[in-house]
């Protein structure tokens, strides 16, 4: 059964789009009618090192921070924050092969896998992805959007076939 509230941690090395993936996920939660909070590190803490972002969604969310040992999901690209994972939590860790296959889009692929576990309708995900990649001024455009949707669905399909 898909949970009606969850804590998610995105973690990894700078440059792999951890914040972008987290941001899309938070918007998908909002567009699915949930209360949602997201927090990530900025400033010098962000320089050249580890990037981490927390998301909590549910009918009502108070603190924006996921406590150690309380994440239902940890999504990681080169740098897992296992300490956050709860005992029944799911670790979605990108393997080297996946990183080289999907390159810069590996974050969206990981998001696709995560999406299979979350109660957000596909339309909410698409809207969030479109807002991030469908805006030409952000250096993206129709090609970029289409490519990311495909990558997202690759991940989503993988999760579904694994569940079977």
């Amino acid at each position: 059964m898909k949970k009606k509230a969850a804590n998610i941690v995105f973690s990894g090395l700078g440059g792999y789009g951890i914040i972008t993936a987290s941001d899309i996920c938070a918007h998908a939660a909002l567009y699915s009618g949930f209360d949602v909070k997201q927090s990530s590190l900025k400033g010098i803490a962000q320089r050249g090192g580890h990037v981490i972002s927390h998301i909590k969604f549910g009918s009502k969310v108070y603190s924006p921070r996921v406590e150690a040992g309380s994440a239902d999901f940890v999504v990681s690209i080169r740098g897992a924050a296992r300490g956050f994972l709860s005992t029944a939590g799911v670790l979605i860790e990108m393997k080297d092969a996946e990183i080289s296959q999907y390159g810069k889009s590996v974050n969206i692929y990981a998001l696709g896998i995560l999406s299979g576990f979350l109660p957000f309708p596909k339309s909410a995900w698409f809207r969030a992805i479109k807002e991030r990649f469908g805006v030409p001024k952000r250096g993206a455009g129709p090609d970029m959007l289409e490519k990311n949707i495909r990558t997202f669905l690759d991940g989503r399909d993988l999760k579904q076939s694994a569940a079977r």
Partner: protein, 554 residues
Amino acid sequence: MKKLLTGNEAVARGAFEAGVSLATGYPGTPATEIIEALSGLDGVYAEWSANEKTALEMAAGASFAGKRALAVMKHVGLNAAADPLMTLSYTGVGGGLVIAVADDPGMHSSQNEQDSRLYARMAKIPLLEPSDSSEALALTKEAFRISERFDIPVMLRLTASVSHSESPVRIGKRIATPAIPVRKKPEKYVMLPPYCNLRRLDLEKRLKKLGEFSESFRFNKTELSSAKKGVVTSGISYLYVKDAVPDVSVLKLAMTHPLPHKLIREFSKSVKRLFVIEELEPFIEDAIRAEGIKVVGKKEGILPSFGELAVETIRGFMEESSYRPDRKPFGNGAFCPGCPYLGVFYHLKGLGSYVFGDIGCYTLAARLFSGSIDTTLCMGAGVSQAAGFLKANPSESAVAVIGDSTFFHSGIPAVVNALYHKSPLTLIVLDNGVTAMTGGQPHAGSGSSIKGILKALGLKTVVEVGPYDIRKIRTAITGALESGELSAIIVKGECVVKAKPKSMTIEKKLCNRCLKCLGIKCTALMEDEEYPSISGRCIGCSLCASLCPKNAIR
């Protein structure tokens, strides 16, 4: 319409909806994104000012003009702006004047974790503390109303977790700025003794009215439950309390100066045991104790007066166990691969001089190259510290390293001082034309010639060098140190934070495994097995190649 905004974006949105005309600030984590979100909006003049004092004075000028104005800074920036702040409460305002200050408990990106709320008490101004984005938006609008109604600047105090966490807000419309005429009123705005003494008395009257207002301020909320315990809290701590102990009664204060003393007393009577939970200083707690109300808080030694609070800390505290949280040092942050300043610190580590650093990402060099930075205190401090060091210890040599944004912020007076008082320090200005650490914002000196400024001040020797010519950098530094007078080196190089990867490789056939390349401490270089290698994060600056005796890096 509901939107997901960070606390900072919500403050910007709130100011916009409140009809703000001018917004000024100096970049600093965790406050930076407020000005960024306001720039380019219709009807708003937003700027990065030279420093926070300038920013607040600009806002004071706009307020005098009858327009709503916002000044934005991080907690340590408020130290620079403290001078105008302390007297602005006397003069009061024309148009609403709001100072948004973001504190950094836990020092994720700061040199200290001072609690800015103490400034509000000292300056005698009202203080609002939002706990999430929706409140940040609402309280920003409220702050402008309070400012105009009580003729006083208002402080909106955020913390990093509020500034940077995102939550849904309801977007509203921008109101037309209230038309307040510009008035020449020296008895209100010229603070010389006859006038300021009268304004001081008037301030007491305004504070008294604000105290009454605080009692019925609609954002101060009492949530009663059947539990015997009750918590007084504010800001982000409120959210942690709700997660940690959902069953206790809560008095959530949005206005924490002046405090609603009657409301607090009433709440204290409804619970058996009263706790105060707030980050950093026991600001609310001390005030409640002073009223003779019994509370459990920081004095008991369990709830720390440093760092960020967390749900588990609060749970332990409320259970009154002996639980004490560990404080883990914050270990993040590294130089970007190919940073144009790596070469400077590579040399500084072995020179035997004392190096006085400043505020900027390059401060990370202190951990990377042992001995390359000996002090870092505050914006602009390095130059004066170096000069002071040399007066006290003339037989040594001293280098001051400062970034261009910091140079314009508060470094120039220090250079003027060192020059007039004949300090033979070596000044190194790291010039990338932007405020790099906070994301590459332009600053008030962007585009100006630092060489021209230093020459005009009277420095005889000012050398400009490129960032990746490691030999020239060394020659320039040793030359300056030997000159026996104040001389400057400007290292000009673009910030690489947004640079495109352009990988170089190490040819194993040529490499003799001397590992000299690793000495540059570039994060794109790895010591894999037998040979060093270069990762995909390389930007092709070739600093490492210039250290290779075998010419194996291409």
